[in-house]
């Protein structure tokens, strides 16, 4: 393993993040506060409790997931798309690095940024509501795994995209709806039975449910299933990336 290369890519990508630290920090704080004002106050005053948890606290895991998933994808997609777009990718291709090292560097950095934002949101949330974490270790594990797996997906999107529209397309048309329909702001059990069944095809449901279990010890789907779904998704992304590098698809035509 060329660990120096992994560290170099990681550091280089993180430098991009630190250059815009204020912006990276302020925007999740601001949007979380807005969610609490809108959802927590306006809707929360009508919905007292969901599954025994105050509505304000109930949406915290969903809020974090929403931000972390969007951020992981866009960070990783942009991270690898940008060198492709400006041409600096020639250097990575000519360097003695394997696909695994490139992925570790880019995906690691993208996941770290997303993780940072997730933590910022969690801290912001505690200013508005009383948040209890029933299984702290599981919470961290779910958070890290989510950051990583969606950063992998973002990496694939970044390789696939050959213009900026495509870079926005998948997050906008697929991921955002899946996250919103994945029970970020409500329990799946609140849906009509038909929709409950349809929801089971949404991978994000498993993630949010698992994550919420880590907070409140209640879940829409069994925790084991959540873990398996998340793990399976990660493996699927890894397999696609392995294939991309093996064939040179969209990189070494």
């Amino acid at each position: 393993m060329n660990w120096i290369a992994v560290a170099s890519i990681y550091r280089f990508e993180m430098a991009r993040f630190f250059r815009t630290l204020m912006q990276s920090f302020l925007s999740p704080v601001l949007s979380t506060s807005l969610y609490f004002v809108v959802f927590g106050t306006a809707i929360g005053s009508r919905i007292q409790e969901v599954e025994g948890v105050s509505y304000g606290a109930f949406i915290v895991p969903g809020l974090i997931m929403l931000a972390v998933i969007t951020q992981s994808i866009s960070n990783a997609a942009f991270g690898i798309y940008f060198p492709k777009f400006i041409g600096t990718i020639y250097e990575l291709l000519s360097a003695p690095v394997s696909f695994l090292e490139i992925v570790l560097g880019y995906v690691g950095a993208a996941a770290t940024k997303a993780l940072f934002i997730g933590v910022v949101i969690l801290i912001t949330a505690t200013l508005f509501v009383d948040v209890q974490i029933a299984h702290p270790l599981a919470m961290v594990a779910f958070l890290v795994l989510t950051c990583l797996s969606f950063a992998l997906l973002g990496f694939i999107i970044g390789i696939w995209a050959d213009n900026f529209e495509k870079l926005q397309l998948v997050p906008l048309l697929i991921v955002t709806p899946l996250v919103f329909l994945g029970g970020s702001f409500y329990s799946i059990s609140m849906l009509p039975p038909v929709w409950q069944n349809i929801a089971m095809f949404n991978p994000v449901v498993y993630l949010i449910s698992g994550f919420r279990w880590a907070f409140f010890d209640t879940a829409d789907v069994p925790i084991g299933l959540s873990l398996m779904a998340t793990g399976g998704f990660t493996v699927a992304c890894l397999a696609v990336i392995w294939w991309i590098f093996k064939t040179g698809w969209r990189i070494r035509n």
Partner: protein, 309 residues
């Protein structure tokens, strides 16, 4: 002589089916400077890209220092430095960080002294904290060279390094190339400037339509293919070449003031003595005599236009 780079039957067809590189075979020795000459679209960049890992070759094998670029890509690529034809740099990054990054991804531990040395040689030291977007085109090209040298490569590819570059940088660049050569680094450069190849290369390769037409020692190439011209300026114009001179291979200028005699420098007899005697016997008055050696450019143009003489 040790072969450092060995290319065997290297071919590349692009996705559309276009065959940009056709079975190129070439060896490059340690410490030699090889210039690849070829018109636009000849396949120079394709050849370099296939060796450096930018594109996947469709056929053939390449070894660098004995390491196969496909099966031992780490060892092979670690030895290679590449200065690409196109300028592409991270706009918001500083010079130092970018060069450090290059060394890092080649798996080499941080070495600030070495990077300082490279930046100083390239007159980039006082720009070390500047961002790429603040640099002029020439400065950016210097940064690309610094990046390529950051991991101390043994084989350096320079893809049209002097296209649109000022005199200052050209001078710096050839100084660096000379230093690298003295250190035993092999340099493969592509260029449009034939004088440049003529001035600095040890060997010259000519490539066209994806084929390597020839690779030859520069001196041998010049001598083998070089023809000399003897131009005889006349004191008084003539309207036709006198019959007594017909046995010589002569051409008369349109103004009738000069005769041009073409001969081969390698021939046993150049025929100059006989010609000059016959010119004198024909009663022509000479005002001047000049010889002219074929330049590489003429050889090159002759080759790529299909006339290999």
């Amino acid at each position: 002589m040790t072969t450092i780079l060995s290319i065997r039957d290297l071919g590349k067809s692009y996705a559309g089916g276009f065959n940009a590189l056709k079975s190129v075979t070439l060896d490059v020795q340690k410490g030699e400077i090889l210039a690849l000459l070829g018109p636009n679209g000849a396949g120079k960049t394709t050849l370099i890209s296939a060796i450096c890992g930018i594109i996947t070759p469709t056929s053939g094998h390449v070894t660098v220092g004995g390491h196969d670029i496909a099966t031992e890509f780490r060892a092979a690529r670690a030895m290679i430095g590449l200065v690409p034809q196109e300028i592409s740099l991270e706009p918001f990054e500083t010079v130092t960080n970018t060069v450090r990054f290059s060394r890092g991804i080649f798996g080499r531990p941080r070495n600030d002294a070495l990077i300082e040395d490279i930046l100083r040689k390239l007159s980039l030291w006082d720009k070390k904290d500047s961002r790429m977007m603040q640099l002029s085109g020439g400065m950016k090209r210097r940064v690309l060279i610094a990046k390529a040298l950051a991991h101390e490569p043994r084989v350096l590819f320079l893809d049209e390094p002097t296209a649109g570059v000022d005199v200052e940088l050209r001078k710096d660049m050839w100084n660096i190339v000379a230093d690298l050569k003295a250190d035993g680094v092999s340099i493969i450069l592509t260029t449009h400037y034939i004088e440049e190849a003529e001035a600095i290369a040890d060997r010259i390769g000519i490539i066209n339509h994806g084929e390597l037409l020839l690779v030859e020692d520069k001196a041998t190439l010049m001598a083998r293919m070089g023809k000399k011209r003897l131009e005889v300026q006349l004191g008084d114009p003539i309207t036709a070449i006198p019959a007594s001179l017909a046995r010589h291979n002569l051409a008369l200028s349109t103004d009738g003031m000069a005769l041009t005699y073409t001969y081969d420098t390698n021939a046993e007899r150049t025929g100059i003595t006989g010609l000059l005697n016959d010119v004198a016997a024909a009663g022509l008055v000479l005002s001047d005599v000049q010889t002219h050696q074929s330049s590489l450019e003429e050889i090159f143009v002759g080759l790529v236009s299909g006339d290999t003489t």
